[in-house]
Symmetry: none
Subunit: 74 residues, 5 copies
């Protein structure tokens, strides 16, 4: 049995990165659902769409960062 | 018991890749649901569809990248 | 206790392949739901249906690829 | 403690096979929901139903294949 | 510590069998929801109900099969 336990941790962190995509999908999915029901108001909420995606994406990037740190820095 | 612990980590990271597909499915599913309710507005939201898919897909690709790094680079 | 740790990783990666099916199901399910409510618009969104399925399926294939690599290439 | 580690991996892969059933259920469930609301359009979407089921089922079969490979071929 | 690792795998595979029940429940639940809204159309979709249940159930049976193989054949 070779290797470091940190490599198992990196794999676990990558699950978090994938799980964050569910949140991003929720934000973008609900925006599309609403924008197609009321297209004239869609442009006014584009900024909110990107804010929502950014906050959810950031948490996935943090998980990815933890995976990278566990692989290369620890 | 042979092999490296990093190989378990690669398998865990691949779960994250699959979980991101749920997010992608949320985005595309809600777009289809809305576009079929209001087809005349569908074309105006195609850009948003691809932006949403791209952000969710990116997190899945990051997980896949962690799996590849754990298998071949670490 | 025989065998390689990579075989546990391959099993974990296969979970990701199954999880991606949830995303594919979301896309196809929402398309069917919308197409049956508004059948005249269904043909116009067939391309989007296959785009959505392709993006979600790709992440599941990546997981399956990780499983195959862990079993036969690593 | 006897046995091979690959047997744990086969069990994990079977989870993926079961998870794919959620996706298949989403496709068939939404079809039934729509077909019962608008029975006259149901026949026109039967092809899409089987396409959606096939793509989701494929990912579950891949997981089952990984389980079989881990039990008998690796 | 006695016992075989395959018994852990069989337990994990049984999780997949249970997860498939969520998919089967989705199919039957949506059928009932639609059939009670529009009882006169229910009979026309009985075939689709059984097709949907069969595809989702098959993935659960595969998981159960993996569990049986791990207990008695491997």
């Amino acid at each position: 049995m070779e290797g470091q336990l940190a490599h198992i941790g990196a794999g676990l962190a990558a699950i978090g990165s994938g799980a964050a995509a569910i949140g991003v999908g929720n934000v973008a999915g609900n925006y599309l659902s609403g924008a197609l029901r009321n297209p004239s108001a869609a442009a006014s909420q584009t900024a909110t769409l990107f804010i929502g995606i950014a906050f959810a994406e950031a948490l996935g990037i943090f998980s990815f960062l933890v995976a990278l740190l566990l692989m290369f820095a620890v």
